[in-house]
């Protein structure tokens, strides 16, 4: 197991300890449980709080998006496992500034059930909550079952927009609507070339013969829609962009935000090779890129692969993307 770790059971806690030591001015733990991080300045009086969460192993997702103009708090699970409802509830209490709390996270069973339980607990303490699920992975379900799709890297757009809306003082209903609107217009597809090794068991997240690729792979190595011999960067990009533009029904004259996201082991150089082709492919359809992100935004430990996300833009969405934001892992200024 090519991992630089100590005891696998300590992996998540030691990682969080590192984050707290490195960024004491930006994030803090509200109580004794290190699995809960909130903005150093939380709660913000009168502003909507945003709580996210999910399994570890996806840095900068999820904990990286806690900061000004982003999420207010996060509940952190073990590698690829959900946090507990209690942890989500603690995060909720710590970020509630009196205007309610939005739960914004990816559509995975364990997370959903735990966040739902937390919402029940919050209700008992009169903290209103709303839930919006990232469900941008077009390969996980056909368009007819859009609402069952898994959430992957494209949730970045929803964090950014909802975070900006909360920061400017929108109400809980409004922030939830912004998040929902962005999720609705986001589509992502990934490709995997090699699996992740789970630190506790040493098991591989999936099996893939050498020289093969899996298109549509999920962020935990969930099977995709096409497995076959590895293609060129341009062929892969064309496949993915084709699927995304169809899913979003993009038309000539539309504007989008693009996220080319590395899953872990794939070099940044390759992401730029792909970005180049995304640009060409969209330009060929007369779709303009108004905002772009290239790098590691949602990883799967040391998995080799990448994903491409598109957000169909209107002026309101673009303005929210461009609003300032700052976390230890993400900056917009």
């Amino acid at each position: 197991m090519k991992k630089i770790i100590n005891k696998p059971e300590q992996f998540v806690d030691e990682m969080i300890e590192g984050i707290l030591l490195a960024h004491p001015d930006k994030v803090r733990t509200p109580g004794d449980d290190r699995r809960i991080l909130v903005r150093a300045d939380a709660p913000l009086e009168g502003k909507v709080g945003i709580v996210t969460g999910g399994g570890s192993g996806h840095l900068p997702l999820f904990k990286g998006y806690v900061g000004r103009g982003l999420c207010s708090g996060v509940a952190i699970g073990n590698v690829f496992s959900s946090p507990s409802s209690q942890q989500v509830f603690e995060a909720t209490k710590a970020v509630d500034g009196g205007a309610g709390v939005l739960y914004l996270y990816g559509n995975y069973g364990g997370d959903v059930f735990n966040f739902d339980l937390a919402a029940d607990l919050a209700e008992l303490e009169d903290i209103p909550t709303r839930t919006v699920l990232g469900r941008d992975d077009v390969a996980s379900q056909p368009k007819e079952r859009k609402h069952d799709r898994r959430g992957v890297a494209g949730i970045l757009f929803a964090y950014k927009a909802a975070g900006a809306a909360a920061e400017r003082g929108d109400s809980l209903e409004e922030v939830a609507a912004v998040a929902e609107d962005v999720v609705e217009h986001t589509a992502t597809m990934g490709i995997g070339l090699s699996p992740t090794i789970l630190p506790t068991t040493g098991a591989l997240s999936f099996e893939l013969p050498d020289g093969e690729m899996e298109i549509g792979i999920g962020i935990h190595g969930e099977p995709g829609i096409h497995r076959g011999p590895l293609e060129t960067a341009d062929e892969i990009t064309d496949r993915i962009v084709g699927a995304l533009t169809e899913d979003l029904a993009l038309e000539s004259g539309d504007r989008v935000a693009v996220l080319v996201n590395g899953m872990g082991a794939t070099p940044l150089e390759e992401l730029y090779v792909v970005y180049r082709r995304v640009h060409q492919a969209l330009a060929g359809q007369d779709v303009a890129i108004a905002k772009s992100y290239v790098g590691e935004y949602a990883t799967s430990l040391e998995m080799a692969g990448l994903s491409i996300s598109l957000l169909k833009l209107d002026d309101a969405r673009l303005e929210l993307l461009e609003a300032p934001a700052q976390s230890p892992f993400f900056q917009e200024s």
Binding site: G77, N78, F80, S81, S82, P83, S84, S85, Q86, Q87, G109, G110, F113, N114, D116, L117, S140, L198, T201, A203, G218, H220, E222, P223
Partner: protein, 210 residues
């Protein structure tokens, strides 16, 4: 069964359940992420600890609620959240009771199953824990005696578990495998079956217990 007997019985049965955690781990490894063994062993330990701390005057409903809370936080996961929610629903069904019998047990298990079905948007045949819970509730409801009811519930759950092998997983992580999930037992349903068996093994039901 009085509240204090219930508490001891739960503890004794959970002590038996832990023996199945490797089996559950392996089943979840094949269909999911392999953490169900840990969820069950840590969850059992956490409940035992929580019950030890509970006052002697705790009602059956309070006992169930303590179980729910302990299980929810021991190893966060789908099973932790769904089972905890189910236990909470069961505890509500027991509100006001001082002791429980096989009819109460049936009520409890049914309430838990319905809650899981609702929260999990899952139905019988989706190849989940529900496939074992609902038949067990039916078996308990049809019985008049505790031991007999338990035996019938174990048998019903076992049948259900074997039946899940022919099904495709429609919920949770296992559903990602699509057709490849056919042929394997559902880990959650197996956990329910093994838990009922643990009650038998622990021998905590007195002869003729109602």
């Amino acid at each position: 069964m009085r509240a204090d007997q219930l508490k001891s019985a739960i503890k004794a049965s959970l002590a038996e359940l832990v023996a199945y955690s490797d089996e559950l781990r392996d089943l979840d490894q094949a269909l999911g992420d392999g953490d169900l063994g840990i969820t069950v062993s840590l969850g059992a330990g956490a409940i035992i600890e929580a019950l030890d701390e509970l006052g002697d005057d705790a009602t059956p409903s309070e006992i169930a609620r303590a179980c729910a809370k302990a299980f929810a936080n021991a190893n966060p996961s789908t099973m932790a959240a769904l089972v905890a929610g189910g236990l909470l629903a069961g505890s509500k069904a027991w509100a006001g009771r001082d002791d429980v019998d096989v009819a109460a047990a049936a009520e409890f298990v049914r309430a838990a199953g319905e809650n899981i079905s609702q929260r999990g948007k899952s139905q019988l045949g989706d190849k989940t824990i529900l496939d074992a819970i609902l038949p067990a509730a039916d078996a308990l409801a049809a019985a008049t005696d505790g031991r007999e009811g338990l035996a019938a519930a174990v048998a019903a759950a076992e049948r259900a578990v074997l039946e899940t092998q022919n099904l495709q997983s429609r919920r949770g992580r296992a559903s990602w495998l699509q057709e490849r999930s056919i042929g394997l037992k559902d880990p959650g349903a197996t956990a329910m079956w093994r838990y009922l068996q643990s009650w038998e093994k622990a021998g905590v039901l007195a002869e003729g217990a109602r």
